[in-house]
């Protein structure tokens, strides 16, 4: 167990990280991710269109164009173009539903309250709602037993569901690169629903260790490691989340914190980029390790921000930032780990291709 943002969270269950990871990719795993912050934002004395436009002043994504019943990825940016947090945002009838990182959730709620002044009500559901992530190719089969509508959902759909008699919100999304669902449930029924799922033949519990190795293989950023206030969305390689309508020449171009820098980086290219790193040997290269042009040059050209072992690949995997000039897949460099420089090369992200249910 590990203490995190006021929660006691398991790193792994009895079977260990590797078995949990592989089970997620072959069947289905249940993760308790209730430490994530669930936030409802409702228009109050105004309408949803105005609320969406107000939120667009804080984020570079298309909030207005998000269809009801759909979810998308986004970031909160600061004035320098850095990232205050990343989140999933969904539109449900009449309101917005946001899932933010556990460590940032209080700060995010305060920030939203300060900056979406008037015209909306912001409800943090930190104490009242649990969040269960059911991830893996057998997730649909498993969840359909509790919620038959699950099978009709596509990747990034959100639906109201009645599970165990309680009003729940289900999204078809996750943080593993696999098909799967996240289920927001009232805290009182969370344990019962989790047990019903975990008792199914396909499903086993999994902890934060497997969640981390799964997301690394899927090339997904961890806030606080791969992205933070010092990285822009363009450097992080997540500018796909910034649609044409918010870019230079778009109908709702800019207008979010850090827009000048971020749009300039989209147009002219960033100075550095997040890359996938494939160590040539078997030694894992972990967060904080320096990246060097060769075995001797004293000054680094980048830094590893996430790294460890990828169980599905059976090999070490890392992510980090390097100067754009060194970001082409196949570029070789050295990473300093425990005082020794070991060879590695840039590899395209993700390490493991996602298997989302897009159609």
């Amino acid at each position: 167990m590990v203490a995190f943002a006021g929660h006691a969270l398991p790193i792994h269950y009895a079977t260990g990280v590797i078995k949990e990871h592989l089970h997620t990719r072959s069947a289905a795993s249940l993760f308790d991710v209730s430490h994530m912050g669930q936030i409802r934002i409702r228009p109050d004395g105004t309408n949803l269109v105005d609320l969406c436009l107000a939120l667009e002043h804080l984020v570079p994504i298309d909030v207005l164009g998000l269809a009801t019943g759909r979810q998308r990825y986004g970031v909160l940016t600061d004035r320098d173009g850095g990232i205050l947090d990343d989140f999933m945002l969904a539109k449900v009838p009449g309101e917005l539903f946001m899932v933010v990182n556990g460590a940032q959730r209080e700060a995010d709620a305060a920030y939203l309250r300060d900056h979406l002044s008037g015209g909306c009500q912001i409800d943090t559901m930190f104490a009242d709602r649990a969040l269960l992530a059911l991830q893996g190719p057998a997730s649909e089969t498993a969840l359909t037993r509790l919620f038959p509508g699950a099978r009709d959902m596509r990747f990034l759909d959100i639906r109201d569901a009645t599970i165990a008699g309680a009003a729940c919100l289900v999204t078809r999304s996750g943080y593993t690169g696999e098909d799967g669902f996240e289920i927001s449930v009232p805290i009182g029924v969370a344990e019962g629903i989790a047990e019903s799922l975990a008792d199914m033949d396909e499903v086993r519990p999994a902890g934060l260790g497997a969640r981390d190795t799964l997301r690394m293989e899927a090339g997904l950023c961890l806030y606080g490691s791969d992205i933070d206030e010092t990285t822009t969305p363009v450097e992080a390689g997540i500018s796909w989340a910034i649609p044409r309508v918010r870019r230079s020449g778009g109908d709702r171009c800019g207008g979010f914190p850090g827009a000048e820098r971020i749009l300039d980086e989209i147009d002219r290219g960033p100075g550095r980029l997040r890359i996938g790193i494939a160590p040539e040997g078997r030694a894992p290269m972990r967060a904080g390790a320096g990246i060097f042009h060769d075995a001797e040059t004293p000054s680094p050209i980048g830094i590893v921000t996430s790294g460890g072992f990828g169980p599905s690949l059976g090999a070490p995997v890392s992510m980090g930032y390097v100067a754009t000039s060194h970001s082409q897949p196949g570029t070789r460099f050295h990473v300093e780990t425990r005082g020794r420089r070991l060879p590695a090369q840039v590899t395209a992200l993700p390490f493991v291709q996602p298997r989302y249910r897009r159609a």
Binding site: G16, A283, F309, P316
Partner: protein, 123 residues
């Protein structure tokens, strides 16, 4: 078999000492994915970090239990690091060394002392 507070076990065979990590350590490390061993013939001093064991979770160094010389390493464990989880106190021995002063062995923890140490340190 003797033990250290760094969760190593040692077995004496004449003037040679075989060293590995304890079942407790293997459990605490979790899935081991990488092991780096010293070179046979290498002279080592007590406290030198001579083995690196990396699990999915983290990297840990294993120290030389006393001054001496590495005479043999277990290449099988480098090829198959998961052996440390499967059989830490048997097949997954890490290295054999010759001690400069064999009496150092007697000063290590007995099985009983090691179990007491684990209990006292809340493990």
């Amino acid at each position: 078999m003797k033990y250290t507070e760094e969760h190593e076990w040692l077995r004496q065979d004449g003037d040679l000492f075989t060293v590995g990590v304890t079942e407790y350590a293997a459990e605490a490390l979790g899935d081991v994915v990488f092991v780096e061993l010293p070179e046979p013939g290498q002279d080592v001093s007590k406290g030198d970090e001579i083995v690196v064991v990396e699990s999915v979770k983290a990297a840990s160094g294993i120290e030389a239990p006393f001054d001496g010389e590495i005479v043999d390493i277990n290449a099988e464990v480098a090829d198959n690091p998961a052996l440390i989880n499967d059989d830490p106190q048997g097949a997954a021995w890490l290295f054999r060394m010759k001690a400069k002063d064999g009496a150092a062995f007697d000063a290590l923890l007995s099985e009983e002392d090691y179990q007491a140490f684990l209990r006292e340190s809340g493990r």
